[in-house]
Amino acid sequence: MSQSAPSTRAPRAGRRWYILVFLAPATLIYTVFAIYPIFESLRLSLYSAEENQAVFVGLANYAKLLGEPYWADQFWNAFNNNVVLFLLHMLIQNPIALALAALLSIPTLKGAATYRTIFFLPTLLSVVVVGFIWQLILSPLWGVTPDAMKALGIGDLFRPWLGLESSALVTVTLISIWQYVGIPLMLFYAALLNVPEETIEAARIDGLNGWWIFWKVKLPLILPTLGLVAILTYIGNFTASFDIIYSLQGGMAGPNFSTDVMGTFLFRSFFGFQAQLGDEYMGATVASALFFIILVGVGCYLFGVQRRLQRYDS
């Protein structure tokens, strides 16, 4: 991580209170409002409410989450939807981002600055706004999409995609991709710009054309960024996907839970919905399950992907 170890520069060691002063505010806020709640949630997942008192129940909540059909069905449905969401982002969003970044990084390209400014714009907008914009555009009521499709002669193919169980999840995913393609795009773009000019020049002298330079020279060099994008996609998919689902399909992740993800599931188990009362201990259990899912992904990234990539890199 660091190139040079920090060195002692203090005039008098031992009485260096200023180090504490520099570290204290960040460490304090971060510990109290980020680290403590996560561990406290893990602890709460081992408790249950009995007669308004928290009782230690061990792993009973987890057994309930994975064993009782009411919970297990929701859990696996949300989990599977998250996996679909993740795979679609990896297969559609990230290749589009890479392709656009590759085109943008062509040195002779005119207007690159304007393009990248526009491509990043949707990413800046609130998910709520983006969700509703697409809801209106895809709405059969307004008729923008059906009319456009009619003009193209494929009017019969129009469906209210967001409202159909079979297509809702994919539609939401495509909207999310439309918005968030900017982040991997920028990361790829930055990595491509950092490829040394000499390396490219050497490949060009060897007679490789632009296409092959990209595949044989640039792509291997930006593999670490691919790894980073993959793990960011993974984490965002399991946590941040709540926002887009909640604003497009509501807390019930309709139709008929076909777009339910771990985030919306966590929200419902915590706050309850309809006849089901909220249960903070089950909420903590779902959050903790999510914690372990993310831990597995981060673990794979740190010990597998990144280590191998670094070896490749050096």
Binding site: I29, L124, S247
Partner: protein
């Protein structure tokens, strides 16, 4: 021959880039244009320009007068700016401490402080809500500011410390020889030094705060503490029939971001692509 090939290639490249440009801008343009139109024109001719008879500002009138939008805006602005200030200041301080001084536990604290990049703070929501309620901060902007500061610090510390480690020590050392205190070195030498990455850190911290729906919904859903994002979400829920108002509300939520982005886009993008975030 080769030149012709190049030219064809360049036309193809621009065709691809222009298609994505269209795809990225069309939905936004559609909403903003229609927000200036009458109800009849919105439905009768969605793609038409808001001119002549079709022009109407009724949607905006109802948004600005019948709703609390101006207040939501104020809330979002306060939360984002104050959080950002703390993230930048405390983040730079901590990054300076771990990258500059050798002390016991340095490695531990550096890793501890950036763990939060990988473990989203949302996972602690249940306990966080209990904590906020116990502190008497439910339905306050303070709660959001504290949570967003905690959420933004890891990435800020990571970017700042990576940057500070690559900066030469000579400037700081010569300041020490001049007899400046460590505090003055931080404020007078280090802060100007990190200026190039401040934009990067600011963007990475600001976007998720401004657009967040989760914490406003859970920690401060009250009428007086709603942020724009939550406000729009609830406003849309109530007024689905009044399309003019809904479109105006959406545009009002987009425009400030749009204007800021047009002004600062150069710095923002340069910050993001400056290589401060290496893979």
């Amino acid at each position: 021959m080769r030149r012709l090939q190049d030219r064809l290639g360049s036309v193809g490249i621009h065709a691809i880039l222009l298609s994505w440009t269209l795809l990225a801008l069309f939905p936004l343009a559609l909403i903003v244009l229609n927000s200036f139109k009458t109800r009849k024109a919105i439905f009768g001719d969605p793609l038409g320009l808001p001119t002549g008879k079709a022009l109407s500002l009724k949607g905006y009138e109802s948004v600005m007068t019948n709703s609390d939008f101006p207040m939501f805006f104020g809330n979002s602005l306060i939360v984002t700016c104050v959080s950002l200030f703390f993230i930048l200041l405390f983040g730079a301080m901590a990054a300076h401490a771990v990258s500059e001084y050798r002390f016991k536990g340095n490695t531990f604290i550096s890793i501890y402080l950036i763990l939060g990049i990988m473990v989203p703070i949302r996972l602690g929501t249940v306990a966080l809500l209990n904590l906020i309620v116990d502190l008497g901060l439910a339905n306050t902007l303070t709660a959001l500011i504290l949570v967003y500061t905690a959420q933004g610090l890891p990435i800020a510390i990571f970017i700042f410390s990576e940057f500070l480690r690559s900066v030469s020590r000579e400037i700081k050392d010569s300041a020490r020889i001049d007899g400046l205190s460590e505090y003055r070195i931080f404020f007078e030498v280090v802060i100007p030094l990190v200026r190039p990455v401040i934009a990067t850190v600011a963007v990475f911290s600001m976007i998720p705060i401004w657009n967040d729906l989760w914490f406003p919904l859970i920690l401060s859903p009250g009428e007086d503490t709603r942020t724009v994002t939550l406000g729009v979400q609830q406003f849309i829920g109530q007024y689905t029939v009044q399309w003019g108002s809904v479109l105006a509300a959406l545009s009002v939520a987009i425009l400030p971001v749009l204007i800021m982005y047009v002004i600062f886009s150069r710095q923002l993008i340069r910050g993001i692509t400056s290589g401060a975030v290496k893979g």
